[in-house]
């Protein structure tokens, strides 16, 4: 189904995940260290990267950060714990989603598919909000004439907000619509992704003009 780059230092876990993902129809290339994986990203073009956070040498978060510098390759982090700093730091570094070890292969597969689905086009039209032009067909966002590079997740979030202009969307709704999370998941995914989108499309991210926070409820897209 998809070309997956897997980075995991523990051989047993690496082999286990390789077996599971291959069986689900993906093509897996795996590495034991971040440095090797970064070399691979430059040469071959995987469709998605799955990174263990705890790695010898440069860690998963740093690998994610360096991948983001190169392109918008979707990244899923494999973390040891659900609610510590790993997750926050990883999401700030640009990760699209995270799963907590030990992860069931079904869950991991669902997340991979959800992330990849975000790359599919929604409809072929073009909407303009002042300086901001969103091309839903070409999956391109142009701000003041220059193209803005959004990851599939960021784009999907922006499109979801744009589809309901002026309406407050709560985090649970966004988690379902963008991440396909069917259970109570981490609202930090949404918050971190909104921050990243703001950083790319807002002139002053601290005083947003497009995506507004509605405290206690969620977010609202209302162009100036």
């Amino acid at each position: 189904m998809a070309g997956i780059l897997l980075v995991e230092d523990d051989p047993a876990v690496r082999i286990g995940l390789e077996l599971a993902l291959t069986r689900q129809g993906h093509t897996v290339t795996s590495y034991a260290s971040g440095e090797e994986a970064l070399e691979h990203v430059k040469v071959r073009r995987p469709e998605i990267a799955i990174l263990d956070v705890m790695l010898p040498g440069i860690d998963g978060v740093e690998v994610c950060r360096r991948i983001r510098r190169l392109d918008q390759l979707p990244v899923i982090l494999l973390t040891a714990r659900g609610d510590d700093l790993d997750v926050v730091v990883g999401l700030e570094a640009g990760a699209d989603d995270y799963v907590v070890k030990p992860v069931e292969p079904r869950v991991l597969d669902a997340r991979i598919r959800a992330v990849l689905r975000r790359m599919e086009s929604v409809a072929s039209d073009r909407i303009t909000f002042g300086d901001l032009v969103i091309d839903r067909g070409a999956l391109k966002v142009v701000l003041s004439g220059r193209e803005v590079h959004l990851t599939p997740t960021e784009l999907r979030l922006l499109l979801e907000l744009v589809r309901h202009p002026g309406q407050v969307l709560n985090r649970r709704y966004l988690l379902r619509a963008v991440w396909d999370h069917t259970h109570v998941a981490d609202s930090r995914l949404v918050d971190a992704c909104v921050q990243r989108v703001r950083a790319k499309i807002e002139a002053v991210p601290a005083e947003p003009e497009f995506i507004h926070t509605v405290r206690g409820f969620g977010y609202r897209f209302s162009p100036p």
Binding site: D10, A12, V13, I15, G16, L17, L19, A20, R23, A80, R81, G82, D83, D84, K101, P102, V103, E104, P105, R106, R171, R172, T182, H183, V184, A185, D186, S187, R188, G216, F217
Partner: protein, 468 residues
């Protein structure tokens, strides 16, 4: 504690005062009595010798009359009274059957016993008449003239000498004595309070230090002053506190080490579990094609991997609570959605009846709320009987969520311990023994709590979360 030490102070001050007052009263009393008796004795001696001298000098013919004598006239008696009368005094004379009162004083003012005794010899007595002290001297009158032999005359004189002057002097003396006594009392009270404070202050300090120690301030120590028993006690207290601090620190470090160990072990277990979990789906699919017995073996392994995973997850969660690193990510959450998501994710939707108002939303940590509901419902499904009911409502005190099953219930003796770690009422099931304790820790992290009550039939768990 406080009562005894107020009591001790009162007792000390009281004793001090009583001793001081008793001593000063004794000294003042003895002095007063001494002065009084000396003064009155002197007045008495003077008065008596005056009376005696005067009587020796009288020439009035009384008693058995001698040739040439004529019975005394009233004038002669008055003259006698006058000569006997001391300054401000009175003289009552009884001669045979005649009574000669003096002013408002009569024979009725003379006590009967003195009246009788005074016919034989000179007697003196102090007597209180109308509130004033008088010295009453009664004496028979003898006649020596003219034959130089004393003969009774049948006349008795009663001289009332006033003691007003002495009385005034004594009352003048009483006033400074009373003043001195009062001053003594105040000084005694002050000294008593001061010494009580001096004695009790270290006792009070020891008391509050002991309380601080009990409250967990194990570094509490007191300065040791002097060489007395209290200083010794303070030193003993310091030694005891130091010993206690040492052993508590040891225990704490041991406990921290063992917690750290559990946390480390759990984390280490996670890696092999991740590898095993990764291939569970594949194995369970393959098991379909295996012969019956190996298939059963594979399913057993898979089932136990799942159980081990739950156990490790909960151990890690519990050690996070122990180390205080558990954090709260509060969001306003629709309760119906949260409960339904929790049930749907675990495939319990058909087995549980949910009764939650549609619009009910509440600020809480959705992940932790999910853990609480999942643990309580999972527990009810595993150990109870259907129907399992989840209800929630908003109260002025916050959010109340109830999970009720209709099974046999938990034995009353086990009920108080169900939230203890690894406490399993009844048969050992597939639960880890940590679920309820983690559920409660999650509620407590919100500032809330979970309580349990037996129902007929079944068990009711009530979660309460305060408003943010």
């Amino acid at each position: 504690m406080r009562r005894t030490h107020t009591g001790l102070r009162v007792r000390l001050v009281f004793t001090f005062t009583v001793i001081a007052v008793a001593a000063s009263a004794l000294v003042a009393g003895i002095g007063y009595e001494f002065v009084k008796s000396r003064m009155i004795d002197r007045a008495e001696q003077v008065a008596v010798s005056d009376v005696r001298d005067t009587l020796e000098g009288i020439r009035v013919p009384i008693g058995a009359l001698w040739p040439g004598d004529s019975p005394p006239t009233d004038d002669e008696i008055s003259a006698l009274q006058k000569s006997l009368r001391p300054q401000g005094g009175r003289v009552v004379v009884r001669y045979e059957d005649y009574l000669y009162p003096d002013g408002d004083f009569g024979i009725s003012d003379v006590p009967a016993d003195l009246g009788v005794r005074a016919t034989q010899r000179l007697v003196a007595k102090r007597q209180l008449i109308d509130g004033d002290m008088w010295l009453l001297i009664g004496t028979p009158v003898w006649r020596i003239e003219p034959i130089h032999t004393a003969q009774p005359t049948g006349m008795t004189v009663f001289v009332f000498a006033p003691l007003i002057e002495e009385q005034r002097l004594l009352s003048d003396l009483r006033q400074p004595l009373a003043l001195a006594g009062g001053a003594m009392l105040i000084i005694a009270l002050g000294l008593g309070l001061a010494s009580a404070r001096r004695v009790l202050l270290p006792v009070r300090r020891l008391g509050s230090a002991a309380r601080a120690l009990g409250a967990g301030h194990l570094d509490t120590r007191l300065p040791v002053h002097g060489q007395d028993e209290l200083a010794e006690l303070t030193a003993t207290f310091n030694d005891t506190a130091a010993a206690l601090e040492r052993s508590v620190l040891e225990l704490r470090s041991l406990e921290a080490m063992s917690r750290r160990f559990v946390a480390d072990v759990s984390h280490e277990l996670r890696t092999p579990l991740t590898a095993m979990t990764a291939v569970t789906d594949m194995l369970s699919e393959e098991a379909e094609r295996l012969p019956r017995e190996p298939a059963a073996a594979v399913r057993l392994v898979l089932q136990e991997i799942a159980r081990l995973r739950t156990l490790v997850e909960q151990l890690i969660e519990a050690s996070r609570f122990d180390s205080g690193t558990a954090t709260l990510n509060v969001d306003t959450v629709n309760i119906v959605d949260a409960v339904c998501d929790c049930l749907a994710m675990r495939g319990w939707t058909d087995q549980v009846r949910v009764n939650v108002p549609q619009g009910l939303s509440f600020p809480l940590d959705p992940r932790r709320f999910d853990v609480i509901v999942a643990n309580l419902v999972g527990n009810a499904l595993r150990h109870g009987e259907p129907p399992v009911l989840v209800t929630a409502r908003s109260t002025p005190n916050g959010l109340e969520v109830k999970v009720r099953d209709h099974g046999k219930g938990i034995p009353a003796k086990d009920l108080p311990f169900v939230f203890n770690r690894f406490y399993k009422a009844g048969a050992r099931g597939d639960g880890s023994g940590l679920g309820l304790s983690i559920a409660r820790a999650n509620a407590q992290l919100h500032g809330g709590t979970i309580s349990v009550r037996a129902q007929h039939p079944g068990t009711l768990f009530t979660v309460w979360l305060p408003p943010a």
